[in-house]
Amino acid sequence: MKYQSQKIALYYFLAALILFALQVTMGLVAGWVYVDPGFLSETLPFNILRMIHTNSLIVWLILGFFGAAYFLIPEEAEREIHSPMLAYVQLAILLVGALGAVIGYVFGIHEGREFLEQPLWVKLGIIVAALIFLFNVTMTFLKGRKTAITNILLLGLWGLAIFFLFSLYNPSNLSLDKMYWWYVVHIWVEGVWELIMASILAYLMLKLTGVDREVIEKWLYVIVATALFSGLLGTGHHYYWIGTPGYWQWIGSIFSSLEVVPFFAMVLFTFAMVWKGRRDHPNKAALLWALGCAVVAFFGAGVWGFLHTLHGVNFYTHGTQITPAHGHLAFFGAYVSLNLAIMTYAFPMLRNRDPYNQVLNMVSFWLMTGGMAFMTFTLTFAGVVQTHLQRVLGENFMDVQEQLQIFYLMRFGSGLAVVLGALLFLYAILVPREREVISPIAAPAE
């Protein structure tokens, strides 16, 4: 750790990890409700479980992005963060908001639009916290060295804050509501968040492989260009059936098919950098997460996204289990893995020590990734069967669901693997030991 203020990141990461634990726990419980529908149906019904599951995911990912920014901007800008005090005030606001939101949800207090359930006071808190953050890091950026990595990262974070403003607009006309709702949801995850993802991956490649900055930053601009060129009009794949004009079927199909390009480019980029790089960085676990992030994002967001994005296909699959199959692998690959990669890289430095618990950390990668892959397969099979029975043959929804039970049972098993992997990750990252449980480097011969 070169700069004292990088330490801020540690507290953001810890807060993020607490919510990560809450997120996967709620996911596991919700997965169990699919198997045993009576479970908790009176005390914590499914809609509340899912709300906590998705909201804690979104908030912990954003806390992780903020932490990553506080960690890497001082190094890139070659100066301390403008005001560490403001950074802690921002964290306090976000934590009060997150805690208030979760407690409120349990008692049924929410705004009731999917993913944007936060009560108004929490939304305003998020906006105030985002403004504090943007002021703080932009000041640091402006006074320091300007690199393409910080440039793109800040652009992504500004975009995140600006598009969140659309969450305040809730017209009574459901079609209008949905159209602008996607301004937040789609333009976040298939637009500006990709800028954040690409810039953090670029930073990790710079540090882990030692490839020349000029090469890395050129790649970065090409990747983010393909991301926004495809992703902005790719929003059209959500405008097929909600009351929007028919031309979106063509625009959405063409541009969202191209959304696979930036994810494929990130795979090529990370692997090319590792091959070119001469540096043998000791943090192998961070490298595994970074490469895994690019690969799983390509399959989850790219391939599984393309699977149901053409309007002729989507007419039948829209709103079936195909969607959560894609959603789970895409979020895990692109944004969960990204956060766990930067945390795995940063934690040892924030504690001023060599990388630790690397093998445990890598086992957690394979447990979580294997679990998520299996979950994606089970939900994909469930979705295919559902599409055929319900959308082609016209069988009633609940009758179809009863025929999918075997897939939900297997999905619960895969969820268990993911939760075990997450717990192992928490242990590996939070409990450094004097000696490695298993050393990543073979012991030298005596």
Binding site: N173, M179, E214, T235, I242, P245, T320, T323, P324, E395
Partner: protein, 150 residues
Amino acid sequence: MHDFMTKSRARNIFYGGSFAFLAIFVGLTVHSHLYILETSTDHEGLTEAVARGKHVWEKHACINCHTILGEGAYFAPELGNVWQRYGGLDDPEGARDALKLWMQSQPTGIEGRRQMPNFNLNDQELNDLVDFFEWVSRIKTQGWPPNEAG
């Protein structure tokens, strides 16, 4: 790529292209906004009751179990066409009564079946919610869903 694509050229393409695509996207959204108001939805017929019904829909987070126009959770049936499914086109009064009775009789308590909570809606809330479903069922959705099962 090495000679042609310098870093500054890549940066300029990124900024210029992104701005252009954002402008196209916003332009098309403006057109779609007008299309929704004038063509695809009954904006004139969006009564106070429909607006209140949408609020009932949100207050109880219905979307975190159900889907509406295919969006939401996938735990419970699609409700964008629930009005048609309940025969509202032929017998509006019958469909209204059946929908209200369904919500009032939750949870079913049937072993092994997904349970919908009872939200203790009063008569006005129930009527508003049904008005909302009726209004939504008339949105022109390019022919989606493929059949009545939703």
